[in-house]
């Protein structure tokens, strides 16, 4: 392939890389996507809800044929206690009409492959089974392409967009990203559980194609700093658990053991009862937020999506839309730089400005303290859920004692376990996660 020179080389065929490829191909650029998997999506795992706000701008009629599972009308947020849950959430019928809340449960092996097809139709060249290991440099030490592990794997291009996901070995190779920090990295494990369409609907109180997305905090990860999720697909359930690598190490807990604890929790077990396992997967999530994103550009190179650390891992759990938006912004940056015929770092620096102005970096900035707040308050994951269960269950067990007396007694009990300052500190930390 060394004879050809591309305008843009994209490493990674996930949401970030494919969104970039789509925009560049539409603009008439010669663009190649190199994906290491057998097909796009074959290495990718998420919860997950695909957030389609950006996708819709690229492909307005995506609802016609995108492989989406269910439109999410119900979202639940529960605090798991040792034997139960304290829950909340919402379900709105208005989410049943377009744009469907821009939220769809999805399976990545299907979706990414479909998106790759759209990028190809737009004119991008997609090469799968191509693992990129390194860059190619010209005599001045400037990056002029990449080296893929295959025959004729030296590929030349004006610009390289690194959309190679959370483990971005390439961004680390050129020192745009430091090694991932266990405190700011989540490892998630997930299973696909087969039920029937009818069972999924009945069990989760859904009509037609409605879907539910349930998140579980508190002691979901057997005391480690982490959270569990249950999402409904058409006739399967996505169930999984993510926890900070640092916290799992401290608890000497293997992620699968944490997942088994979650699956067997009395509040969770009935949701998957009688189902058949179909797949087991594992994936990392960058969790450093605004203060740990990578350097976003250098001469001839841009970084997008998880490779840059763009995940809003708060209550919102958004990654796919940040990936797509950053892919689009990277593509627009390259198109503008192309008119100047200048792909130096200075010329590519508008990429950062674009992201600073968009929801990508604005949201990450707003929630920049979340991970530190959770890490500093491990009581949220064991002690507090336990205390809450005790309080609420006693309060809701009528036993002839007047409510006032009971409340005073419980308050005394609570303050024996935790100081008022401890409670306030935790409440403040929680604020970091929500607003």
């Amino acid at each position: 392939m060394s004879e050809d020179k591309f305008d843009v080389i994209i490493v990674g065929g996930g949401p970030a890389g494919l969104a970039a490829a789509f925009v560049l191909a539409k603009a008439g650029k010669q663009v190649i996507v190199l994906e290491r998997g057998e097909y796009c999506g074959s290495k990718n795992v998420f919860g997950g809800i695909l957030f389609t706000g950006i996708l819709e701008k690229l492909i307005p009629d995506y609802l016609k044929d995108a492989p989406l599972e269910r439109n999410v009308t119900r979202r639940g947020f529960s605090l798991l206690t040792p034997t139960g849950e304290l829950g909340g959430g919402f379900k709105f019928d208005k989410f049943n009409t377009a744009p469907f809340n821009n939220s769809f449960t999805t399976l990545r092996a299907k979706f990414d492959n479909w998106f790759a097809g759209k990028a190809e139709e737009a004119g991008a060249m997609i090469i799968t089974g191509a693992t990129v290991d390194d860059f190619l440099y010209d005599t001045d030490g400037k990056i002029k392409g990449v080296k893929a592990r295959m025959d004729d794997g030296d590929i030349l291009g004006d610009v390289v967009i690194l959309a190679d996901g959370v483990n971005s070995l390439l961004a680390k190779k050129i020192k745009l990203h430091k090694e991932l920090d266990p405190k700011y990295t989540i490892v998630a494990v997930k299973e696909i559980i087969q039920l029937t369409e009818e069972k999924v609907a009945d069990r989760f109180h859904l009509n037609g194609n409605e879907g539910a997305a349930l998140e579980y905090f508190g002691c979901a990860a057997k005391g480690a700093v982490g959270a569990g999720f249950v999402y409904t697909n058409k006739d399967t359930i996505s169930i999984g658990l993510g926890a900070s690598i640092k916290s799992l190490m401290e608890h000497k807990l293997n992620p699968n053991d944490a997942l088994e604890y979650f699956k067997n929790h009395p509040a969770i077990a009935p949701l998957i009862r009688g189902g058949e396992q179909r797949e087991y997967s594992a994936h990392l999530i960058p969790d450093g937020g605004y203060d740990h994103i990578s350097k976003l550009f250098t001469d001839n190179v841009l970084v997008a999506g998880d490779a840059a650390g763009f995940v809003n891992n708060t209550l919102f759990h958004e990654g796919t839309n940040l990936a797509m938006q950053s892919g689009v912004s990277a593509a627009e940056t390259v198109i503008e730089a192309g008119t100047r015929k200048d792909f130096s770092a200075a010329s590519l620096s508008v990429y950062k400005t674009k992201l600073e102005e968009s929801f990508v970096l604005r949201d990450l900035k707003q929630f920049r303290k979340t991970t530190d707040a959770l890490d500093a308050n491990p009581q949220l994951f064991e002690k507090y859920p336990k205390m809450l269960e005790e309080l609420v269950s006693e309060l809701f067990t009528p036993d002839g004692e007047p409510k006032w007396d009971k409340e005073m007694k419980l308050m005394g009990k609570l303050l024996k376990q935790e100081s008022p300052w401890g409670l306030i500190k935790t409440a403040l930390a929680m604020r970091r996660v929500i607003i």
Partner: protein
């Protein structure tokens, strides 16, 4: 529907599709480390139980079971040599 529920990692891996490549993509870089300690104190975290000990307390790396998550890379950046498997090889998710 009859339920078939696996709880152990080995069984769960049997659900997944793998295409092994002959050359390992995971290696022990620091030969002089205490391999027993490395597995028991750090690499126990692997969600695919790729790292185990044989009866001589040497580390065995079952790289063909790797889910390519990168966790071992994060906890042992020095000790473990980590690269992506050959393109098209390794795990292939059908759901993801």
């Amino acid at each position: 529907m009859t339920a078939r529920i696996f709880t152990g990692i080995e069984d769960k891996l049997g659900l997944d599709k793998f295409k092994a490549f002959h050359k390992p993509h995971l290696t022990l870089e620091k030969k002089d480390v205490d391999q027993k300690k490395l597995v028991e104190e750090k690499l126990f975290i692997c969600p695919a139980k790729v790292y185990t000990l044989n009866d001589k307390n040497e580390m065995v790396i079952s790289f063909e079971n790797c889910l390519e998550c990168g966790t071992c890379r994060v906890v042992c950046p020095e000790e473990i040599g980590w690269e992506y498997p050959m393109g098209g090889h390794g795990v292939t998710y059908r759901f993801g």
